[in-house]
Amino acid sequence: MGADKAVLINTEDDLEEGDQYTTARILEAYFEDKDVDLILAGNVAIDEASGQVGPRLADRLDMPYVTTITELNIDGDTVNIVRDVEGDEEKVETSLPLLVTCQQGLNEPRYPSLPGIMKAKKKPLEELEIDDLDLDEDDVEAKTETVDVFLPPEKEAGKVLEGETDEQVKELVSLLRTEAKVL
């Protein structure tokens, strides 16, 4: 995709359960001495979808942050951003160093090209464990715990209405009023 270097912080052997606090603490420990200008984070993860890690990390690094951005323009130290606020567009000015979380519409990710894939094999991939970041398990212990994970009760098959359109529409309105009681 175009990155010059990758770092993998492997927590598998050291941590049983982590939460957003854990992730933010580990990233903080990594970034502490890196002197970065800009951190691009995701808006929400596809699994837990809590959207906490970006803002938590920015706070720990004492950096300003702007979430759900759809446009990013950097001119020297000045940064102009457009962010999505529940459908409205907010134009924000801020400065580097900065953390942003990316929302759909920011750009169109390219597909990896074949030469890109070949080149990627030669790029440095650093692997770290939390030990290498001078952290131990207790430093990053989760603040929350997951008590249960379950599938929602199987939804009963819906009622597909039959007959002519006029009849279906009449039946639907009647069902919404008497059975579902939402009208």
């Binding site: 957003q20 300003p64 702007v66 459908g87 801020t94 994970v149």
Partner: protein, 320 residues
């Protein structure tokens, strides 16, 4: 006594519904707790504070400042932290809105505290939240520290309003400074009508709507129902409507009482944004469309035939 903070949210000086839901959520966490409403902004604060009390809060703390007119992370963090330091609460409840999502992780970080985001239910000290785009649920609890949650709008019903209820409203002066982000402009794209994330009824269109004009019958139906109009990503990508209408994983997450999906196939990303709706109606030409798997009622047919007839039927009822 346990003390819980319930954060109000103002938009253009108007209090949002989710604010009252935070009070109800605090009461569900601990019925006998002292619930303190927190109102941050620069206008109508007293009025909002009194409404929070009428909806069940015991008292309210307001912070008024020019830099709180629009939400920014820096200004709101300073104001909220000042209230938290003054009150030293056992728990905090905020709406899982654009502002709540942005602010809550930072406060949690400052407090060195856990945070359970986007909850849809409360069972004692366990909080229910959808994961994997609503395909599964988890129950979480805070191990130690303050009970800190954000609630998904429209899932925890507000308490009944009691107009005679009163409580102390105090204001706190906060010296807000060193702001690192400035809002230059806000472009309103979301329509003036019903707020999509708080709407009780939503009429949504997908690719099947076929064009910008194709949304017209949906708007007419929405008008009759007092509903908001939404869309799937497919319809937005195709340019039939603005992205501000998008419902789904990257758009808005909604939980209306009634969701009418017109010409929407029901991709998982869309379902993530609406599958918690109380009643779902699907109108689609394709009987195999995935949307029928989550719908309570389905009509297999052309939306351009069905929707106008539905509008007429409802209009006829209203006349009666």
């Amino acid at each position: 006594m346990t003390k819980l903070l319930a954060f109000a949210e103002l938009k253009d000086g108007e209090i949002r519904n989710v604010s009252f839901e935070t009070v109800a959520a605090a009461r569900q966490i601990d019925e006998s707790a002292e619930v303190v409403a927190v109102v941050l902004g620069n206008e109508n604060l007293e009025d909002a504070a009194n409404q929070m009390i009428q909806y069940g809060a015991d008292r309210a703390v307001t912070v008024s400042h020019d830099s709180l007119s629009n939400y920014t992370s820096d200004a709101y963090t300073q104001a909220a932290m000042a209230v938290i330091e003054q009150e030293d609460p056992d728990g905090l409840v905020m709406g899982h809105t654009s502002a709540g999502k942005d602010l809550s992780p930072r406060l949690a970080s400052k407090l060195d505290n856990g945070l359970i985001s986007d909850i849809t239910g409360i069972e004692g000290d366990q909080f229910l939240r959808p994961i994997y785009s609503g395909k599964a649920f988890e129950k979480k609890s805070i191990k130690d520290g303050k009970t800190f949650v954000t609630i998904r709008p429209n899932n925890i019903a507000p308490l009944e309003i009691d107009g005679s209820r009163s409580g102390e409203v105090s204001s706190l002066d906060v010296d807000i400074k060193d702001l690192r982000t400035i809002i230059k402009d806000v472009v309103r794209k979301a329509s003036d009508g019903v707020d999509l994330s708080e709407a009780n009824i939503i009429v949504a269109g997908g690719r099947g709507v076929k064009s910008e004009e194709g949304f017209e019958p949906l708007h007419e139906l929405a008008d009759v129902l007092g509903a908001a109009v939404g869309a799937s990503r497919g319809a937005c990508d195709a340019g039939y409507c603005d992205y501000s209408l998008q419902i789904g994983q990257t758009g808005k997450v909604v939980t209306p009482d009634l969701y009418i999906a017109c010409g929407i196939s029901g991709a998982i990303q869309h379902l993530a944004g609406m599958s918690n709706s109380k009643v779902i109606v699907a109108i689609n030409k394709d009987p195999e469309a995935n949307i029928f798997n989550v719908a309570d009622y389905g009509i297999v047919g052309d939306l351009f035939d069905v929707v106008p007839k539905l509008t007429e039927e409802l209009k006829a009822l209203q006349v009666k």
